[in-house]
Symmetry: C2
Subunit: 189 residues, 2 copies
Amino acid sequence: MNSGLMSTPHVLLGLLATGDKHGYELKRAHDERLPQARPLAFGQVYATLNRLQRDGLVTVTGQERDGGPERTTYALTGEGRAALDRWLNDVEPPYPYVASTLLAKVAVALLVADLDRVRACLAAQRQAHTARLRELTLLKHAPSATLDDVVAADFAIAHLDADLTWLGTTLSRVADWHREVRHEPAPGP
Amino acid sequence: MNSGLMSTPHVLLGLLATGDKHGYELKRAHDERLPQARPLAFGQVYATLNRLQRDGLVTVTGQERDGGPERTTYALTGEGRAALDRWLNDVEPPYPYVASTLLAKVAVALLVADLDRVRACLAAQRQAHTARLRELTLLKHAPSATLDDVVAADFAIAHLDADLTWLGTTLSRVADWHREVRHEPAPGP
DNA sequence: AGGGAGTATTCACCGAGTGAATAGTGGACT
DNA sequence: AGTCCACTATTCACTCGGTGAATACTCCCT
């Protein structure tokens, strides 16, 4: 999976759309609203905020210190709101290329390892994915799960399933594939 | 999605394992063996090669000029081979978090847009994915398709399918989800 | 001779991401 | 009272991934 396209700036714009915030609040809002997302470091928030400001998508609305360290509050600008709306309206282009470590690894294995090792690699991967699938299913059906959790778990489950399906069909084709890559002839009948 | 985990260095090690190469050859080998992968720029190859050399995974085996510009040939070191084998043997951890632009966008839409717009967003996305799915199916069954193409297409198809499944179930849950995010009570019976 | 295609590499630059450092405030504990 | 800790809030230095343009040399075609 892994899209190469980064969404962090737009996510921050989205969080700012729910009210002015400073960096720390933004990071907390992110952790609260998108706990299933890749962890976001504080440094990243401030860096992104600076770029957004440079590009006119957010502005500083105040520098207060209210019993604590100085803090800078940011607000969405008109341009920022427009950029957010554009992002939301545009469909995410389904990748024209496959950016997956899994596929890359198997393709490389085919180049440098023998058939049995490729098979072992695929089988090991399948086992790990199956285990993770079980974990996610438990997590999804836990009584404490919110809809947020369920939706995120469903997403992960669907893609894990996709990997497993692919691992299965690839395992059944790996001998032919190996031959093709090595330019060896098919075995006689 | 965007892979967070980068495989480029290991892929280069893998290509080098099939024989010593210089940067340009490496880039061509990549394009030939992994055409379905995200495009790799020349600059990236040389930069990565420098890091691999710094880390002792590859060495320079020669600087020749043979009717053409000077070129530097690299070879895998023992350490490099070991790193490659380690990478191939380790299973790719199925992501503990969901790194998907699609999921992030829908989650943000839920925060800042009304229910109808979220629905429209999901529906539009579904249409785009369906169209891409048709394209890939054609591509896979084209007479010119090699096993490389078929395997890569299968991977993409499986994940597109996963997205479509998720879009479907999410569409059916979006009203409840919207309510939960907005902390509104469920409608009476 | 001149121009274009192919070979081979370098450079300057940006965004993403990490970890540590800094700095102030309030509360808990001794 | 002093001290340590946790929390709030931001900055810094640095690495990696990735892009586009620039450079430079050779060969071939016209």
